[in-house]
Protein backbone atom coordinates (compact mmCIF):
# COMPACT_ATOMS: atom_id res chain seq x y z
CA UNK A 1 0.00 0.00 0.00
CA UNK A 2 2.96 2.28 0.58
CA UNK A 3 3.84 1.89 -3.08
CA UNK A 4 0.85 3.97 -4.15
CA UNK A 5 1.88 6.29 -6.94
CA UNK A 6 2.03 9.89 -5.84
CA UNK A 7 0.95 12.06 -8.71
CA UNK A 8 3.48 14.65 -9.58
CA UNK A 9 2.42 18.16 -10.40
CA UNK A 10 3.96 19.13 -13.69
CA UNK A 11 4.53 22.86 -13.96
CA UNK A 12 3.26 23.05 -17.53
CA UNK A 13 0.11 21.14 -16.66
CA UNK A 14 0.85 18.30 -19.08
CA UNK A 15 -0.08 15.70 -16.44
CA UNK A 16 -3.47 17.29 -15.89
CA UNK A 17 -6.61 15.51 -16.97
CA UNK A 18 -8.78 18.50 -16.12
CA UNK A 19 -8.03 22.19 -15.78
CA UNK A 20 -10.44 24.87 -14.68
CA UNK A 21 -9.12 28.31 -15.62
CA UNK A 22 -10.29 31.72 -14.40
CA UNK A 23 -13.81 30.51 -13.73
CA UNK A 24 -16.27 33.06 -12.33
CA UNK A 25 -19.94 32.63 -11.61
CA UNK A 26 -22.45 35.28 -10.62
CA UNK A 27 -26.05 34.85 -9.61
CA UNK A 28 -27.39 38.36 -10.13
CA UNK A 29 -25.39 40.52 -7.75
CA UNK A 30 -23.99 37.54 -5.86
CA UNK A 31 -20.49 36.41 -6.79
CA UNK A 32 -20.41 32.70 -6.11
CA UNK A 33 -17.02 32.05 -7.74
CA UNK A 34 -14.29 34.56 -8.45
CA UNK A 35 -11.47 33.68 -10.85
CA UNK A 36 -11.09 30.09 -9.71
CA UNK A 37 -8.15 28.07 -11.03
CA UNK A 38 -8.03 24.36 -10.34
CA UNK A 39 -6.28 21.43 -11.89
CA UNK A 40 -6.65 17.69 -11.54
CA UNK A 41 -3.67 15.44 -12.18
CA UNK A 42 -4.25 12.13 -13.95
CA UNK A 43 -5.05 9.43 -11.41
CA UNK A 44 -5.17 11.59 -8.33
CA UNK A 45 -7.86 12.21 -5.74
CA UNK A 46 -8.30 15.91 -5.10
CA UNK A 47 -10.10 16.99 -1.95
CA UNK A 48 -12.10 20.18 -2.28
CA UNK A 49 -12.66 21.65 1.16
CA UNK A 50 -14.30 24.83 2.34
CA UNK A 51 -17.09 26.17 4.51
CA UNK A 52 -20.74 26.15 3.59
CA UNK A 53 -21.41 28.83 1.01
CA UNK A 54 -17.79 28.94 -0.14
CA UNK A 55 -18.87 27.93 -3.63
CA UNK A 56 -17.93 24.24 -3.68
CA UNK A 57 -21.24 23.03 -5.01
CA UNK A 58 -21.35 25.79 -7.60
CA UNK A 59 -17.90 24.80 -8.80
CA UNK A 60 -18.92 21.16 -9.08
CA UNK A 61 -22.09 22.12 -10.92
CA UNK A 62 -20.03 24.07 -13.44
CA UNK A 63 -17.53 21.26 -13.94
CA UNK A 64 -20.32 18.73 -14.50
CA UNK A 65 -22.23 20.84 -17.01
CA UNK A 66 -25.24 21.59 -14.80
CA UNK A 67 -24.48 25.32 -14.74
CA UNK A 68 -22.72 27.56 -17.17
CA UNK A 69 -19.93 29.79 -15.84
CA UNK A 70 -20.11 33.57 -16.26
CA UNK A 71 -16.48 33.60 -17.34
CA UNK A 72 -13.50 31.28 -17.70
CA UNK A 73 -12.75 28.03 -19.46
CA UNK A 74 -12.52 24.31 -18.83
CA UNK A 75 -9.81 22.17 -20.41
CA UNK A 76 -10.19 18.39 -20.54
CA UNK A 77 -7.09 16.44 -21.59
CA UNK A 78 -5.59 19.51 -23.24
CA UNK A 79 -8.72 20.45 -25.15
CA UNK A 80 -10.94 23.36 -24.27
CA UNK A 81 -14.54 22.22 -23.83
CA UNK A 82 -17.85 24.04 -23.45
CA UNK A 83 -20.20 21.94 -21.40
CA UNK A 84 -23.79 22.18 -22.56
CA UNK A 85 -25.43 19.76 -20.13
CA UNK A 86 -24.75 17.02 -17.62
CA UNK A 87 -25.33 14.56 -20.41
CA UNK A 88 -22.79 16.31 -22.59
CA UNK A 89 -20.19 16.35 -19.82
CA UNK A 90 -20.86 12.67 -19.22
CA UNK A 91 -20.34 11.86 -22.88
CA UNK A 92 -16.97 13.62 -22.66
CA UNK A 93 -15.99 11.58 -19.62
CA UNK A 94 -16.85 13.85 -16.68
CA UNK A 95 -19.28 12.05 -14.44
CA UNK A 96 -20.84 13.33 -11.25
CA UNK A 97 -22.33 11.84 -8.14
CA UNK A 98 -24.62 14.53 -6.74
CA UNK A 99 -25.45 14.89 -3.09
CA UNK A 100 -28.96 13.61 -3.73
CA UNK A 101 -27.35 10.70 -5.66
CA UNK A 102 -29.85 10.98 -8.53
CA UNK A 103 -31.07 7.47 -7.77
CA UNK A 104 -34.62 6.42 -8.50
CA UNK A 105 -36.04 4.65 -5.45
CA UNK A 106 -38.70 2.84 -7.43
CA UNK A 107 -36.24 1.19 -9.81
CA UNK A 108 -33.95 -1.76 -9.26
CA UNK A 109 -30.24 -1.47 -8.58
CA UNK A 110 -29.33 -2.48 -12.11
CA UNK A 111 -31.82 -0.13 -13.76
CA UNK A 112 -30.34 2.67 -11.70
CA UNK A 113 -26.81 1.73 -12.70
CA UNK A 114 -27.78 1.85 -16.35
CA UNK A 115 -30.08 4.86 -16.10
CA UNK A 116 -29.95 6.84 -19.34
CA UNK A 117 -27.53 4.43 -20.96
CA UNK A 118 -29.72 1.36 -20.99
CA UNK A 119 -28.94 -1.60 -23.15
CA UNK A 120 -31.67 -2.49 -25.59
CA UNK A 121 -32.46 -5.23 -28.06
CA UNK A 122 -34.99 -4.40 -30.76
CA UNK A 123 -35.68 -1.26 -28.71
CA UNK A 124 -36.76 -3.34 -25.72
CA UNK A 125 -34.72 -3.19 -22.53
CA UNK A 126 -32.18 -5.95 -22.34
CA UNK A 127 -32.65 -6.55 -18.63
CA UNK A 128 -30.69 -9.79 -18.55
CA UNK A 129 -27.58 -8.19 -19.97
CA UNK A 130 -27.80 -5.11 -17.73
CA UNK A 131 -28.42 -7.27 -14.70
CA UNK A 132 -25.39 -9.44 -15.34
CA UNK A 133 -23.06 -6.55 -16.06
CA UNK A 134 -24.25 -4.56 -13.04
CA UNK A 135 -23.57 -7.57 -10.85
CA UNK A 136 -20.08 -8.05 -12.28
CA UNK A 137 -19.21 -4.38 -12.00
CA UNK A 138 -20.37 -4.11 -8.42
CA UNK A 139 -18.40 -7.19 -7.53
CA UNK A 140 -15.30 -5.90 -9.26
CA UNK A 141 -15.23 -2.64 -7.36
CA UNK A 142 -16.10 -4.49 -4.19
CA UNK A 143 -19.60 -3.23 -3.43
CA UNK A 144 -21.57 -5.75 -1.44
CA UNK A 145 -25.31 -5.80 -2.02
CA UNK A 146 -28.03 -8.33 -1.21
CA UNK A 147 -29.25 -8.33 -4.83
CA UNK A 148 -29.11 -6.19 -7.96
CA UNK A 149 -32.86 -6.84 -8.28
CA UNK A 150 -33.61 -4.97 -5.07
CA UNK A 151 -35.43 -1.68 -5.31
CA UNK A 152 -33.03 1.08 -4.33
CA UNK A 153 -35.53 2.32 -1.72
CA UNK A 154 -34.76 -0.81 0.32
CA UNK A 155 -31.00 -0.10 0.62
CA UNK A 156 -28.99 1.73 3.26
CA UNK A 157 -27.43 5.16 2.74
CA UNK A 158 -23.96 3.71 2.23
CA UNK A 159 -25.18 1.14 -0.27
CA UNK A 160 -27.03 3.85 -2.18
CA UNK A 161 -23.92 6.02 -2.29
CA UNK A 162 -21.87 3.04 -3.44
CA UNK A 163 -24.31 2.37 -6.28
CA UNK A 164 -24.18 6.00 -7.36
CA UNK A 165 -20.36 5.91 -7.35
CA UNK A 166 -20.30 2.56 -9.11
CA UNK A 167 -22.66 3.87 -11.76
CA UNK A 168 -20.38 6.82 -12.45
CA UNK A 169 -17.22 4.73 -12.48
CA UNK A 170 -18.59 2.06 -14.75
CA UNK A 171 -19.62 4.62 -17.35
CA UNK A 172 -15.92 4.82 -18.27
CA UNK A 173 -15.57 8.24 -16.72
CA UNK A 174 -12.16 9.91 -16.87
CA UNK A 175 -13.06 12.41 -14.20
CA UNK A 176 -15.35 11.65 -11.31
CA UNK A 177 -16.89 14.46 -9.27
CA UNK A 178 -18.19 13.44 -5.85
CA UNK A 179 -20.32 16.03 -4.08
CA UNK A 180 -20.02 15.32 -0.34
CA UNK A 181 -20.14 11.54 -0.60
CA UNK A 182 -19.75 11.20 3.16
CA UNK A 183 -22.48 13.61 4.20
CA UNK A 184 -25.02 12.10 6.59
CA UNK A 185 -23.25 8.77 6.65
CA UNK A 186 -22.49 6.63 9.69
CA UNK A 187 -18.91 5.71 10.56
CA UNK A 188 -19.13 2.23 9.08
CA UNK A 189 -20.74 3.35 5.84
CA UNK A 190 -18.37 6.30 5.51
CA UNK A 191 -15.45 3.89 5.85
CA UNK A 192 -16.97 1.72 3.13
CA UNK A 193 -17.13 4.67 0.74
CA UNK A 194 -13.56 5.74 1.59
CA UNK A 195 -12.39 2.20 0.86
CA UNK A 196 -14.24 2.32 -2.45
CA UNK A 197 -12.48 5.57 -3.39
CA UNK A 198 -9.11 4.12 -2.39
CA UNK A 199 -9.78 1.08 -4.53
CA UNK A 200 -10.59 3.28 -7.49
CA UNK A 201 -7.38 5.22 -6.91
CA UNK A 202 -5.40 2.01 -6.84
CA UNK A 203 -6.95 0.91 -10.13
CA UNK A 204 -5.87 4.27 -11.52
CA UNK A 205 -8.50 4.53 -14.26
CA UNK A 206 -10.28 7.57 -12.99
CA UNK A 207 -9.26 10.91 -11.48
CA UNK A 208 -11.48 12.13 -8.67
CA UNK A 209 -12.52 15.45 -7.17
CA UNK A 210 -14.26 15.03 -3.85
CA UNK A 211 -16.06 17.69 -1.86
CA UNK A 212 -15.49 16.92 1.81
CA UNK A 213 -15.99 18.44 5.23
CA UNK A 214 -13.96 16.22 7.48
CA UNK A 215 -10.25 17.14 7.26
CA UNK A 216 -9.12 13.84 8.76
CA UNK A 217 -10.99 11.79 6.19
CA UNK A 218 -9.80 14.13 3.42
CA UNK A 219 -6.16 13.65 4.35
CA UNK A 220 -6.71 9.91 4.62
CA UNK A 221 -7.99 9.46 1.08
CA UNK A 222 -6.86 12.47 -0.98
CA UNK A 223 -3.54 13.10 -2.71
CA UNK A 224 -3.97 16.83 -2.74
CA UNK A 225 -6.12 19.36 -0.94
CA UNK A 226 -7.64 22.56 -2.30
CA UNK A 227 -9.39 25.00 -0.03
CA UNK A 228 -12.18 27.16 -1.40
CA UNK A 229 -13.03 30.30 0.57
CA UNK A 230 -15.59 32.95 -0.42
CA UNK A 231 -15.39 31.89 -4.07
CA UNK A 232 -11.62 31.67 -4.38
CA UNK A 233 -9.07 28.87 -4.13
CA UNK A 234 -6.84 29.98 -1.25
CA UNK A 235 -4.85 26.83 -0.59
CA UNK A 236 -3.33 24.09 -2.73
CA UNK A 237 -1.00 21.52 -1.17
CA UNK A 238 -0.26 17.82 -1.40
CA UNK A 239 -1.97 15.96 1.41
CA UNK A 240 1.35 14.70 2.76
CA UNK A 241 2.60 18.28 3.13
CA UNK A 242 -0.25 19.50 5.28
CA UNK A 243 -2.14 18.49 8.40
CA UNK A 244 -5.54 18.72 10.03
CA UNK A 245 -4.02 21.34 12.32
CA UNK A 246 -2.91 23.55 9.43
CA UNK A 247 -6.27 23.31 7.65
CA UNK A 248 -8.12 24.08 10.87
CA UNK A 249 -5.91 27.09 11.55
CA UNK A 250 -6.52 28.54 8.10
CA UNK A 251 -10.27 28.21 8.35
CA UNK A 252 -10.47 29.53 11.90
CA UNK A 253 -8.21 32.45 11.04
CA UNK A 254 -10.47 33.28 8.13
CA UNK A 255 -13.48 33.10 10.40
CA UNK A 256 -11.87 35.48 12.92
CA UNK A 257 -10.91 37.87 10.15
CA UNK A 258 -14.45 37.94 8.78
CA UNK A 259 -15.80 38.48 12.28
CA UNK A 260 -13.43 41.36 12.92
CA UNK A 261 -14.36 42.91 9.61
CA UNK A 262 -18.03 42.71 10.40
CA UNK A 263 -17.46 44.35 13.81
CA UNK A 264 -15.45 47.11 12.17
CA UNK A 265 -18.17 47.88 9.68
CA UNK A 266 -20.90 47.75 12.33
Amino acid sequence: MTAEPTPTVAADGSGDVLRVEHISKRFGAVRALNDVNLHLVQGEVLGLLGDNGAGKSTLIKIMCGFQIPTAGRIVLEGQEITLKSVDHARSLGIDTVFQDLALINELTVYHNMFLNRERTRFSLLNNRSMRRTAKEQLERIGVDLPSVDAEVAKLSGGQRQAIAVARAVTSNAKVLLLDEPLAAMGAKEGAMILELVKDLKRQGQVSIIMIMHNYGQALEVCDRINLLQHGEITFDKLAKDTSVQELNDIVIEEYRRALAEREKSA
Partner: protein, 348 residues
Protein backbone atom coordinates in the same frame (compact mmCIF):
# COMPACT_ATOMS: atom_id res chain seq x y z
CA UNK B 1 -50.74 -13.42 8.12
CA UNK B 2 -47.86 -15.63 9.24
CA UNK B 3 -48.54 -17.73 6.18
CA UNK B 4 -47.22 -14.86 4.17
CA UNK B 5 -44.67 -13.23 6.39
CA UNK B 6 -42.41 -16.27 6.47
CA UNK B 7 -41.55 -16.63 2.84
CA UNK B 8 -39.50 -18.41 0.21
CA UNK B 9 -36.79 -20.27 2.15
CA UNK B 10 -39.36 -22.25 4.14
CA UNK B 11 -41.67 -22.67 1.21
CA UNK B 12 -39.14 -24.53 -0.90
CA UNK B 13 -37.72 -26.71 1.87
CA UNK B 14 -38.38 -30.45 1.59
CA UNK B 15 -41.15 -32.12 3.60
CA UNK B 16 -40.44 -33.85 6.87
CA UNK B 17 -38.50 -30.99 8.41
CA UNK B 18 -39.43 -29.21 11.61
CA UNK B 19 -43.04 -28.06 11.80
CA UNK B 20 -42.08 -24.48 10.89
CA UNK B 21 -40.98 -25.64 7.45
CA UNK B 22 -44.21 -26.63 5.81
CA UNK B 23 -44.77 -28.20 2.43
CA UNK B 24 -45.76 -25.67 -0.25
CA UNK B 25 -49.45 -26.33 -0.85
CA UNK B 26 -51.56 -24.72 -3.55
CA UNK B 27 -52.89 -22.19 -1.03
CA UNK B 28 -49.39 -21.33 0.02
CA UNK B 29 -48.15 -20.92 -3.56
CA UNK B 30 -51.14 -18.70 -4.24
CA UNK B 31 -50.28 -16.60 -1.22
CA UNK B 32 -46.69 -16.43 -2.35
CA UNK B 33 -47.76 -15.22 -5.76
CA UNK B 34 -49.96 -12.68 -4.04
CA UNK B 35 -46.97 -11.59 -2.03
CA UNK B 36 -44.84 -10.97 -5.09
CA UNK B 37 -47.14 -9.52 -7.68
CA UNK B 38 -48.50 -6.00 -7.30
CA UNK B 39 -51.46 -6.76 -9.59
CA UNK B 40 -52.43 -9.87 -7.64
CA UNK B 41 -54.54 -8.02 -5.10
CA UNK B 42 -56.80 -6.30 -7.61
CA UNK B 43 -56.96 -9.58 -9.53
CA UNK B 44 -58.42 -11.23 -6.45
CA UNK B 45 -60.95 -8.42 -6.03
CA UNK B 46 -61.98 -8.69 -9.69
CA UNK B 47 -62.37 -12.47 -9.54
CA UNK B 48 -64.42 -12.31 -6.34
CA UNK B 49 -66.77 -9.73 -7.84
CA UNK B 50 -67.17 -11.66 -11.10
CA UNK B 51 -67.86 -14.88 -9.16
CA UNK B 52 -70.35 -13.14 -6.91
CA UNK B 53 -72.43 -11.69 -9.73
CA UNK B 54 -71.85 -14.74 -11.93
CA UNK B 55 -73.20 -17.16 -9.32
CA UNK B 56 -75.98 -15.00 -7.99
CA UNK B 57 -77.37 -13.87 -11.34
CA UNK B 58 -75.80 -16.50 -13.55
CA UNK B 59 -78.06 -16.69 -16.61
CA UNK B 60 -78.42 -12.95 -17.04
CA UNK B 61 -74.91 -11.98 -15.96
CA UNK B 62 -72.96 -14.65 -17.83
CA UNK B 63 -74.84 -14.25 -21.12
CA UNK B 64 -72.78 -13.19 -24.10
CA UNK B 65 -74.67 -9.95 -24.56
CA UNK B 66 -74.09 -8.99 -20.97
CA UNK B 67 -70.41 -9.89 -21.01
CA UNK B 68 -69.97 -7.86 -24.18
CA UNK B 69 -71.75 -5.04 -22.45
CA UNK B 70 -69.57 -5.37 -19.35
CA UNK B 71 -66.19 -5.75 -21.00
CA UNK B 72 -66.63 -3.86 -24.24
CA UNK B 73 -69.17 -1.09 -23.76
CA UNK B 74 -68.66 -0.34 -20.09
CA UNK B 75 -65.15 -1.60 -19.41
CA UNK B 76 -63.16 -0.71 -22.50
CA UNK B 77 -63.42 3.09 -22.35
CA UNK B 78 -62.22 2.93 -18.75
CA UNK B 79 -59.40 0.53 -19.69
CA UNK B 80 -58.15 2.64 -22.57
CA UNK B 81 -58.26 6.00 -20.80
CA UNK B 82 -56.73 4.38 -17.72
CA UNK B 83 -53.64 3.52 -19.78
CA UNK B 84 -53.04 7.21 -20.38
CA UNK B 85 -53.78 8.15 -16.80
CA UNK B 86 -51.40 5.46 -15.48
CA UNK B 87 -48.53 6.89 -17.52
CA UNK B 88 -49.38 10.40 -16.35
CA UNK B 89 -49.87 9.45 -12.71
CA UNK B 90 -46.55 7.59 -12.71
CA UNK B 91 -44.67 10.62 -14.02
CA UNK B 92 -46.40 12.75 -11.41
CA UNK B 93 -49.22 14.40 -13.38
CA UNK B 94 -52.92 13.88 -14.07
CA UNK B 95 -55.25 14.68 -16.98
CA UNK B 96 -58.75 15.85 -16.05
CA UNK B 97 -59.45 17.02 -19.59
CA UNK B 98 -59.30 13.64 -21.30
CA UNK B 99 -63.06 13.10 -21.05
CA UNK B 100 -63.66 16.34 -22.94
CA UNK B 101 -61.34 15.29 -25.75
CA UNK B 102 -63.60 12.23 -25.78
CA UNK B 103 -66.58 14.58 -26.18
CA UNK B 104 -65.12 16.82 -28.86
CA UNK B 105 -63.19 14.37 -31.09
CA UNK B 106 -66.27 12.79 -32.74
CA UNK B 107 -67.76 16.23 -33.35
CA UNK B 108 -64.55 17.26 -35.05
CA UNK B 109 -64.79 14.18 -37.25
CA UNK B 110 -68.42 15.03 -38.03
CA UNK B 111 -67.57 18.66 -38.94
CA UNK B 112 -64.69 17.58 -41.16
CA UNK B 113 -66.71 14.99 -43.04
CA UNK B 114 -70.05 16.76 -43.33
CA UNK B 115 -69.07 20.43 -43.50
CA UNK B 116 -65.57 20.39 -45.00
CA UNK B 117 -65.96 17.29 -47.18
CA UNK B 118 -62.82 15.67 -45.84
CA UNK B 119 -62.73 11.93 -46.64
CA UNK B 120 -63.54 9.64 -43.73
CA UNK B 121 -60.12 8.18 -42.98
CA UNK B 122 -58.25 11.51 -42.91
CA UNK B 123 -61.07 12.97 -40.83
CA UNK B 124 -60.65 10.20 -38.27
CA UNK B 125 -56.89 10.64 -38.28
CA UNK B 126 -57.19 14.42 -37.84
CA UNK B 127 -59.59 13.85 -34.93
CA UNK B 128 -57.03 11.58 -33.28
CA UNK B 129 -54.27 14.10 -33.99
CA UNK B 130 -56.44 16.69 -32.31
CA UNK B 131 -55.95 14.60 -29.17
CA UNK B 132 -52.19 14.90 -29.65
CA UNK B 133 -52.59 18.66 -29.95
CA UNK B 134 -54.61 18.93 -26.74
CA UNK B 135 -52.01 16.78 -25.01
CA UNK B 136 -49.26 19.06 -26.28
CA UNK B 137 -51.18 22.07 -24.98
CA UNK B 138 -51.54 20.38 -21.59
CA UNK B 139 -47.83 19.65 -21.68
CA UNK B 140 -46.97 23.21 -22.63
CA UNK B 141 -49.06 24.70 -19.82
CA UNK B 142 -47.83 22.20 -17.25
CA UNK B 143 -44.19 21.66 -18.17
CA UNK B 144 -43.22 24.88 -19.91
CA UNK B 145 -45.48 27.35 -18.09
CA UNK B 146 -45.23 25.52 -14.78
CA UNK B 147 -48.92 25.19 -13.88
CA UNK B 148 -50.02 22.20 -11.82
CA UNK B 149 -51.56 19.69 -14.20
CA UNK B 150 -54.70 19.48 -12.06
CA UNK B 151 -55.44 23.12 -12.94
CA UNK B 152 -54.08 22.96 -16.50
CA UNK B 153 -56.30 20.10 -17.50
CA UNK B 154 -59.31 21.43 -15.61
CA UNK B 155 -58.96 24.59 -17.69
CA UNK B 156 -58.41 22.89 -21.03
CA UNK B 157 -61.23 20.47 -20.19
CA UNK B 158 -63.72 23.30 -19.72
CA UNK B 159 -62.48 25.00 -22.87
CA UNK B 160 -63.08 21.79 -24.82
CA UNK B 161 -66.54 21.40 -23.31
CA UNK B 162 -67.39 24.97 -24.27
CA UNK B 163 -66.00 24.40 -27.72
CA UNK B 164 -68.18 21.31 -28.13
CA UNK B 165 -71.36 23.01 -26.91
CA UNK B 166 -70.75 26.19 -28.95
CA UNK B 167 -69.97 24.46 -32.22
CA UNK B 168 -72.71 21.84 -31.88
CA UNK B 169 -75.28 24.24 -30.35
CA UNK B 170 -75.57 21.46 -27.75
CA UNK B 171 -77.38 19.25 -30.25
CA UNK B 172 -76.34 15.70 -30.98
CA UNK B 173 -75.33 14.72 -34.49
CA UNK B 174 -75.47 11.46 -36.40
CA UNK B 175 -72.60 9.49 -37.85
CA UNK B 176 -72.45 10.18 -41.58
CA UNK B 177 -73.23 7.14 -43.70
CA UNK B 178 -69.80 7.12 -45.31
CA UNK B 179 -68.17 6.49 -41.93
CA UNK B 180 -70.32 3.59 -40.81
CA UNK B 181 -68.19 0.90 -42.47
CA UNK B 182 -64.89 1.85 -40.88
CA UNK B 183 -66.77 2.59 -37.69
CA UNK B 184 -67.30 -1.11 -37.17
CA UNK B 185 -63.55 -1.57 -36.90
CA UNK B 186 -63.15 1.30 -34.50
CA UNK B 187 -65.94 0.51 -32.11
CA UNK B 188 -69.33 -0.30 -33.57
CA UNK B 189 -68.90 -4.08 -33.78
CA UNK B 190 -69.92 -5.83 -30.52
CA UNK B 191 -66.46 -6.78 -29.22
CA UNK B 192 -64.29 -4.32 -31.14
CA UNK B 193 -63.80 -1.86 -28.27
CA UNK B 194 -62.67 -4.68 -26.03
CA UNK B 195 -60.24 -5.95 -28.66
CA UNK B 196 -58.78 -2.45 -28.89
CA UNK B 197 -58.57 -2.26 -25.11
CA UNK B 198 -56.78 -5.60 -24.81
CA UNK B 199 -54.36 -4.79 -27.64
CA UNK B 200 -53.55 -1.34 -26.27
CA UNK B 201 -53.16 -2.73 -22.76
CA UNK B 202 -50.73 -5.35 -24.07
CA UNK B 203 -48.74 -2.80 -26.06
CA UNK B 204 -48.48 -0.26 -23.25
CA UNK B 205 -47.77 -2.95 -20.70
CA UNK B 206 -44.63 -3.65 -22.72
CA UNK B 207 -43.92 0.06 -23.17
CA UNK B 208 -44.08 0.65 -19.43
CA UNK B 209 -42.14 -2.39 -18.29
CA UNK B 210 -39.70 -3.05 -21.12
CA UNK B 211 -38.79 0.22 -22.84
CA UNK B 212 -36.75 3.28 -22.02
CA UNK B 213 -39.89 5.39 -22.22
CA UNK B 214 -41.48 3.38 -19.41
CA UNK B 215 -38.33 3.46 -17.32
CA UNK B 216 -37.98 7.22 -17.77
CA UNK B 217 -41.64 7.73 -16.91
CA UNK B 218 -41.05 5.95 -13.60
CA UNK B 219 -37.81 7.86 -13.05
CA UNK B 220 -39.51 11.20 -13.75
CA UNK B 221 -42.22 10.56 -11.19
CA UNK B 222 -39.97 8.82 -8.68
CA UNK B 223 -37.23 11.46 -8.53
CA UNK B 224 -37.58 14.24 -11.05
CA UNK B 225 -34.41 16.09 -10.05
CA UNK B 226 -32.41 12.88 -9.98
CA UNK B 227 -33.77 11.84 -13.35
CA UNK B 228 -32.80 15.21 -14.78
CA UNK B 229 -29.33 14.99 -13.25
CA UNK B 230 -28.99 11.61 -14.93
CA UNK B 231 -29.65 13.35 -18.22
CA UNK B 232 -33.27 12.27 -18.70
CA UNK B 233 -35.38 14.90 -20.41
CA UNK B 234 -38.23 14.78 -17.94
CA UNK B 235 -40.15 17.56 -19.70
CA UNK B 236 -40.24 15.55 -22.89
CA UNK B 237 -41.50 12.50 -20.99
CA UNK B 238 -44.36 14.52 -19.53
CA UNK B 239 -45.26 16.09 -22.87
CA UNK B 240 -45.35 12.63 -24.42
CA UNK B 241 -47.56 11.17 -21.73
CA UNK B 242 -50.01 14.08 -21.89
CA UNK B 243 -50.20 13.52 -25.63
CA UNK B 244 -50.70 9.78 -25.18
CA UNK B 245 -53.52 10.26 -22.68
CA UNK B 246 -55.41 12.86 -24.75
CA UNK B 247 -55.06 10.80 -27.92
CA UNK B 248 -56.48 7.76 -26.16
CA UNK B 249 -59.34 10.01 -25.03
CA UNK B 250 -60.01 10.98 -28.65
CA UNK B 251 -59.98 7.32 -29.68
CA UNK B 252 -62.48 6.36 -26.99
CA UNK B 253 -64.71 9.28 -28.00
CA UNK B 254 -64.77 8.06 -31.60
CA UNK B 255 -65.39 4.48 -30.47
CA UNK B 256 -68.31 5.51 -28.31
CA UNK B 257 -69.81 7.61 -31.13
CA UNK B 258 -69.58 4.70 -33.57
CA UNK B 259 -70.89 2.22 -31.02
CA UNK B 260 -73.93 4.29 -30.09
CA UNK B 261 -74.26 5.56 -33.66
CA UNK B 262 -74.68 9.08 -32.38
CA UNK B 263 -72.42 12.00 -31.54
CA UNK B 264 -73.62 13.26 -28.23
CA UNK B 265 -72.40 16.49 -26.55
CA UNK B 266 -73.22 14.95 -23.16
CA UNK B 267 -71.03 11.90 -23.76
CA UNK B 268 -67.62 11.78 -22.08
CA UNK B 269 -66.98 14.55 -19.57
CA UNK B 270 -65.57 14.02 -16.11
CA UNK B 271 -67.13 10.62 -15.49
CA UNK B 272 -65.00 8.39 -17.76
CA UNK B 273 -61.90 10.25 -16.59
CA UNK B 274 -62.73 9.68 -12.93
CA UNK B 275 -63.56 6.05 -13.61
CA UNK B 276 -60.19 5.66 -15.33
CA UNK B 277 -58.26 7.32 -12.49
CA UNK B 278 -60.18 5.18 -10.00
CA UNK B 279 -59.38 2.04 -11.99
CA UNK B 280 -55.70 3.02 -12.08
CA UNK B 281 -55.57 3.62 -8.34
CA UNK B 282 -57.55 0.47 -7.47
CA UNK B 283 -55.09 -1.34 -9.71
CA UNK B 284 -52.11 -0.18 -7.66
CA UNK B 285 -50.95 3.05 -9.28
CA UNK B 286 -49.74 5.66 -6.81
CA UNK B 287 -51.37 9.08 -7.01
CA UNK B 288 -48.06 10.67 -6.06
CA UNK B 289 -46.03 9.25 -8.90
CA UNK B 290 -43.22 6.75 -9.35
CA UNK B 291 -45.34 3.62 -9.22
CA UNK B 292 -48.04 2.13 -11.35
CA UNK B 293 -49.12 -0.82 -13.41
CA UNK B 294 -50.97 -1.10 -16.70
CA UNK B 295 -52.17 -4.61 -15.94
CA UNK B 296 -53.47 -3.39 -12.58
CA UNK B 297 -55.39 -0.59 -14.28
CA UNK B 298 -56.88 -3.11 -16.71
CA UNK B 299 -58.02 -5.28 -13.81
CA UNK B 300 -59.19 -2.19 -11.91
CA UNK B 301 -61.31 -1.30 -14.94
CA UNK B 302 -62.84 -4.77 -14.84
CA UNK B 303 -63.63 -4.28 -11.16
CA UNK B 304 -65.40 -1.00 -11.89
CA UNK B 305 -67.19 -2.33 -14.96
CA UNK B 306 -68.31 -5.41 -13.03
CA UNK B 307 -69.76 -3.24 -10.31
CA UNK B 308 -71.51 -0.91 -12.77
CA UNK B 309 -72.85 -3.78 -14.83
CA UNK B 310 -73.52 -6.19 -11.98
CA UNK B 311 -75.50 -3.70 -9.94
CA UNK B 312 -77.51 -3.02 -13.04
CA UNK B 313 -78.18 -6.72 -13.59
CA UNK B 314 -79.10 -7.01 -9.92
CA UNK B 315 -81.90 -4.60 -10.71
CA UNK B 316 -80.83 -1.75 -8.49
CA UNK B 317 -82.56 1.36 -9.73
CA UNK B 318 -80.58 4.29 -11.06
CA UNK B 319 -80.89 6.64 -8.09
CA UNK B 320 -79.41 4.59 -5.26
CA UNK B 321 -76.93 2.90 -7.62
CA UNK B 322 -74.24 5.51 -7.03
CA UNK B 323 -74.48 5.02 -3.26
CA UNK B 324 -73.74 1.33 -3.69
CA UNK B 325 -71.11 1.99 -6.35
CA UNK B 326 -69.27 4.46 -4.10
CA UNK B 327 -69.40 2.10 -1.14
CA UNK B 328 -68.25 -0.80 -3.31
CA UNK B 329 -65.30 1.20 -4.65
CA UNK B 330 -64.27 2.00 -1.08
CA UNK B 331 -64.68 -1.62 -0.04
CA UNK B 332 -62.66 -2.85 -3.04
CA UNK B 333 -59.96 -0.33 -2.18
CA UNK B 334 -59.90 -1.35 1.49
CA UNK B 335 -59.48 -5.02 0.53
CA UNK B 336 -56.78 -3.93 -1.89
CA UNK B 337 -54.88 -1.88 0.69
CA UNK B 338 -55.07 -4.69 3.26
CA UNK B 339 -53.78 -7.22 0.74
CA UNK B 340 -51.02 -4.82 -0.33
CA UNK B 341 -49.97 -4.54 3.30
CA UNK B 342 -49.79 -8.31 3.53
CA UNK B 343 -47.74 -8.27 0.36
CA UNK B 344 -45.29 -5.74 1.80
CA UNK B 345 -44.97 -7.85 4.95
CA UNK B 346 -44.35 -10.90 2.81
CA UNK B 347 -41.56 -9.19 0.97
CA UNK B 348 -39.47 -8.31 4.01
Amino acid sequence: MSEITERSPQAVSPPGGPPAKRVPGPLRSALNLLARQREATVFVVAVVLLLYFGIKYNSTFVSQTNLANLLSETGSPIMIIAIGEVFLLICGEIDLSVGFVYTFAPFLMHYLIDFYHVPVVPAIIISLLFGLLVGAANGFLTVTMGLPSFITTLGTGFILLGLTLTTSHAYPATISASAVGIGRWIGAAPWSQFIWAVALTAIFYVVLTRTKWGLYTIATGGNQLGARESGIKTGRIKYGNFMLCATLGALVGLQNAFYTNTIDPSAGGFQPMFYAVTAAVIGGTAMLGGQGTILGAFLGSIVLATLLNGLNVAGISANPLDIILGAAILLAMIVNVRLARLRAAGRN
